[in-house]
Structures are given as structure tokens and as C-alpha cells.
Amino acid sequence: MNQLQFQSRERVRARRGWVLPGMLLAALPLSAEVISGRDDESGQSRWEWREAGVSMQLIQRLPDQTRAFFLGRGFMRAEADAIGSTCVFQTIFRNDGSQRLSYDLNDWRVVRHPASSSLLTREYWDARWATEEVSQEARIALRWSLLPTRQSYQPGDYNWGMTSFGLPPGAAFDLSLRVSIGGTPVTATLPGIVCAADR
């Protein structure tokens, strides 16, 4: 083997040495991703956040959809209207990663610069109905159809539930979220989320 052939093989080996680590970096979910588009099933706008195998989707719900849902579950018209007009999204959390995922909705902020507010959680609605005459059937339906305020998901777990952002139909906001993945706090902002308009 002459000197030229030897140098050429060394260069090929050196290049191979960088190709696989490059593939590795490309394969690992190193950074968060936010995507938006249209939900195939409902035709409504959706936003999705992904990081380390974990995903959270927000899918718009029309105010009328939400009103109809709760009217069919024991709420009176005014109460169903009140829930339907608080910017409700269908929310899907999924843990396809390899570590435990947990969150507390009380740590999340609904940001409309310069103000910010909290989500309307199960506890908010429980307290609200405490002063109003709402049937038990209706309260139970709302409690269980809302995304749990706190939840932990092991790999392979997922959950659906409604989230209520306390804004009028058509309002836009940024969502500042915080979760814990494998015990490590992770924060992210989903910009430009829009509540479904009241048609």
C-alpha cells in the first residue's frame, strides 16, 4: 500500500467516525418542538408541543360543542353557556418517552401581554358551583371531563380532557407551561394560541 492509499483510508475512517455521531444527534429529541395545524377529525385548529417523547396537544372546541356537551349532562342553559364561553380546548397528554412525566396546571400561565392568568381547573369550577344550584350529575360530569389538575404518566400512559383558559371566544394568548420529565423541570411557551370563535 502506498502512502497516498493509506492517507485516503484514514480520511474515510475519520469521516465514518463523524457520520454515526451525527445520525445519533439527529435521532435524539434534543429540543422542544411546537407545531400547529388543523385537527383531522374535528377540522378545528390544533397546537402540539413535543419534547423528549412527551407530547401535549390542544385542539379547539367550539363554544357550541361545549355547551351541547354539558347541556346533555345535567347543566342548565346559563351554566352550560358559562362553561362554553371560557375558551375550552380538548387536551391530549401522551408519554411515549422513557421517563415519568408529571404536571400541575396551577403552574401554567395564560399570557396576554402584559397580563397573565391561571387556567380554570377542576377546583375553580367546584368552588364556583358551591354557590350555585348545580345538580350533582352535572358537577361530576364537569369534574371528570376536565383534564386532571395534577397528573403523572408513566411511559405508555396518556390522557384526554378539556382545559378551560378563562378567555372570551376568539381571544389569542400564549401558553406558558411547566412539566417535569424524569424529575427534571421543563418549561415552554406555546405562542399564538387562538380560542375558537363563537359562530
Partner: protein, 169 residues
């Protein structure tokens, strides 16, 4: 360098690929807490007491008709039950907070032959470690919660059923 890179790539990427499939789909609960006892009725008015099934493995599914993943997993639960009932494994669905009529209407569209119990005031549900629907537990022959699944599963997945069957031995 090439060999080391390949090894590192496989070691790190394989768990991510495997994680796309929910694995066996059940989370083992350390310490196996005792399952809270209950008495609930099915759509025909028959009474079911959990502790009456001591000695059998049970799959207990908390669900509701309005919940999309609950509906999605129901056919695979039915298929799993068709296999497991012959082996003495019990499957119970506990509907959370809905009326008998609502659940009856659901069964007009979905074939479900295992007992569907009604927890209309969600009192039993509140005693179990359930915060979202569906949540399913596998209870061992001594009445302890061995596994939990949050969200729907393909219940007739052979690997998942093997985990359930192993509790009988």
C-alpha cells in the same frame, strides 16, 4: 471509532424506538396497595362486591361513555375478556357518574359482555387512585393492585395478557 459510534448509536436510539410502542402497557405499582372494596350494581341490577372475587385476578376499568379513549379501548377489552373469562379472570367496567340509560344506550353501539357497573355519584371512583379516565387496574388474587394503566390500551395484546395471567400463578 466506527465500532464505538455504532454501539453508542444502538444503545441510545433503541430505547427511543422501543418507547414508541407503549411496551407491555402496564405500570407495576410498588408495594401493591390493597384495592378499596366496593359494592356496585350492573345494568340489570345485579350486585358486585369486589371482595367476593378474592382468589381471582381482576381487571377493573374506570370509564365514561363521553371519553374518546374509553370508547376506543372497549372493543379490545371485549376481545380480551372473551379469552380471559375462560381462565377465571374477572373484568369489570365501572362507569363514572352517568345514568343507567346513558350506559345502556352506549351498549347499543358497542358489544360489551363483561359487567358494566354504575358509580353514579363517583364515590367508589374517589376511593381509588383515579384522577383521569380511562384508568384501569389489575388486582391480584389477594385483592392488591398490581398494575395500573392510564389511558386506553390494546387489551388483547398477548404481552399484556401474559402479565395479567402471570398473577394467577
Amino acid at each position: 471509532m466506527y465500532r464505538w459510534s455504532l454501539t453508542l448509536f444502538l444503545l441510545l436510539v433503541t430505547p427511543f424506538v422501543a418507547a414508541q410502542k407503549p411496551g407491555l402497557g402496564l405500570t407495576h405499582l410498588p408495594g401493591r396497595p390493597q384495592a378499596p372494596d366496593f359494592v356496585l350494581h350492573d345494568l340489570d341490577g345485579n350486585s358486585y362486591r369486589l371482595s367476593d372475587h378474592r382468589g381471582s385476578v381482576l381487571i377493573i376499568n374506570f370509564w365514561a361513555t363521553w371519553c374518546p379513549p374509553c370508547r376506543a379501548e372497549m372493543p379490545s377489552m371485549q376481545r380480551a375478556w372473551e379469552q380471559l373469562q375462560k381462565e377465571g379472570i374477572v373484568m369489570l367496567g365501572i362507569d363514572v357518574g352517568e345514568s343507567e340509560d346513558t350506559v345502556l344506550e352506549f351498549t347499543a353501539n358497542y358489544t360489551v359482555e363483561f359487567p358494566l357497573l354504575l358509580d353514579q355519584e363517583a364515590q367508589v371512583t374517589g376511593q381509588w387512585p383515579v384522577v383521569g379516565l380511562p384508568t384501569t387496574f389489575v388486582v391480584d388474587t389477594e385483592g392488591r393492585i398490581s398494575y395500573r394503566a392510564i389511558g386506553g390500551r390494546e387489551w388483547d395484546d398477548p404481552e399484556l395478557l401474559d402479565l395479567v395471567r402471570a398473577l394467577q400463578r
